[in-house]
Amino acid sequence: MKKGAVVKRSEGAAHHSSIFSGFSKVPLPLSPFFAFVGFFLMWPILAVTIRSFQGNKKEWTLENFRSIIHGPYLHGFVVSLKLATYTAAIGSLIGGFLAFVIIKYAGRKLTLIIDSTAAVFANSGGVPLAFMFIAAFGAQGVLTKSLKSLGWDIYAGKFTLFSFSGLLLVYTFFQVPIMIIVFKPALKGLRKEWGEASQSLGANSLTFWRRVAIPILTPSFLGAFFLLFASGFSAYATARAMTVGNVPLVPLIIGSLVDGNVIANQVNLGDALAVGMVLIAVISMSGYLLAQKYAARWRTK
């Protein structure tokens, strides 16, 4: 990257390669930003990390972390990871397919409408979403009743909306749009010339997908998967509104600890859980950034 050059970047391409090299002092005009982020983002995370290594009398200990890898807390992590993996898989497959169809067939106006709708839905992982699905798939929901009248009682088996499988269904509603938003730029980056080139070399469209498109798209797809994983893993509001303590997700456990259900002999357990969440989120987002870097190779020029 030339110094001072106006960098034209394609959407979604990230240049994180040279992040921590060759920086000395923060320029004065940028210092308010760094001060703000430092105080309201870095410092809280640092403080919670420090406290997670402290016991009830502020002595240094690993006891909090020893606790969270056992019993109900470990189970919470397992359930959260399972939910994140499943919703990321469902979201990335369906969203990837929809993104492909949008790129291929949707006109400019329609794309614009889809984009803004997707942006709203992607950020909808909140309480309103829960109520919407109760209206559709709840025991008295419109869809539940119409399916029943068609002879399919979705509540006949073990299914309820307020369970793990219910959460899977609801999370799909915001995971798919996130996938569309994240994956569309990658599909757009597939150049027409590549298709023409492979065709003139004698490849049919199946060979083109197998030998050109899929290898190029794989890093972007994996990256998007990691992003969905992180969003499914840390979602709180929807799960809080829909479950009544029957699905032990880590964010919900932290929430109930914060609400005063503190275990007397370990006041800093919640901090350790919070740090555990950050760790898992950081790992999955590193996967995302790494994949983005690979994907950017095809798009920077």
Binding site: P44, F97, V101, P128, A135, P251, V258, G270, A281
Partner: protein
């Protein structure tokens, strides 16, 4: 000829499948919720009663006003902090842009739940006792989206060229900022403003974990008594958000194509 027919069939299969998926995942829940929201008292008939129900609840206005106030504050802080930062980084310190890119996706990485716990540990007591701690964290949560909106606007115009031209024509910095920089990234600024505002006014996780009662948390409590009212509110908030975002992206799109046009004219 056969190929064309095959392509056509493939096209219909693809579009058909995606329509079915869209209807199943998105249209059905939204439509069901809309139908529910217009049901009358005790589920009989159809009326607007669920939409007016919330307004008559005690605490509606105070909580709404509080949320508005917090959202306006958050948007203001956001603009004051992020517009100069993004512009200056873009013009003067391009070397720092990867660092900003990285920092500004951190709020997406760090779970809000963890940030809330951290805020309880790290913030000075005086700030924790005031509800005005919330706007600062709303700014943090909105950072990935506002920065991105500004960054896209900044990279889609040749800002450096425009600024040099304005300086060469004798404009001072103040004039350049007011007459050149701000108008050329107006779409980004409006986008960032709307996003910051929308996120702040609907924020639930952090607010409830820090034990504050704003409009979103109050509605959740109030709606425990009336599920139809809660569903009506959900429908309303979705429709409103989509309308606002479409409006913003329409403006942004027009502005962006306008300013590109101008550059081309100038360079010719």
């Amino acid at each position: 000829m056969a190929d064309q027919v095959k392509n056509q069939i493939g096209k219909y299969i693809l579009i058909g499948t995606s329509l079915i998926i869209t209807i199943l995942i998105f249209v059905f829940p939204l439509a069901s919720a809309s139908e529910f929201s217009f049901r009358g008292n005790f589920g009989k008939g159809h009326s607007f009663v669920n939409y007016t129900w919330l307004i008559h609840q005690e605490g509606f206005l105070p909580h709404l006003l509080l949320s508005l106030q917090l959202a306006i504050l958050a948007s203001a802080i956001n603009l004051l902090l992020m517009v100069p930062t993004a512009v200056i980084a873009n013009l003067k310190f391009p070397k720092w842009r990867p660092v900003l890119d990285f920092i500004c996706i951190l709020p997406l990485i760090i779970p809000v739940v963890s940030l809330a716990i951290g805020a309880q540990v790290a913030m000075p007591k005086s700030l924790q006792n005031s509800q005005f701690e919330l706007p600062f964290f709303f700014v943090i949560i909105a950072l990935p989206f506002t920065y991105r909106a500004l960054d896209i606007a900044l990279t889609s115009v040749e800002l450096k060229t425009l600024v040099e031209a304005s300086r060469n024509l004798g404009a001072n910095w103040v004039l350049t900022i007011i007459r050149v920089i701000i108008p050329s990234i107006r779409s980004g600024i409006t986008g960032a403003l709307f996003l910051a505002f929308a996120l702040a006014i609907g924020e639930f996780t952090l607010t409830s974990l820090l034990h504050w009662d704003t409009f979103p948390t109050w509605t959740v409590n109030a709606s425990q008594e009336n599920i139809l009212g809660a569903i009506a509110l959900s429908v309303f908030s979705f429709a409103g958000a989509i309308a606002i975002l479409m409006f913003v992206s329409l403006i942004a799109n027009r502005r962006a194509s306008n300013s590109n046009l101008k550059i081309e004219e100038v360079s010719e």
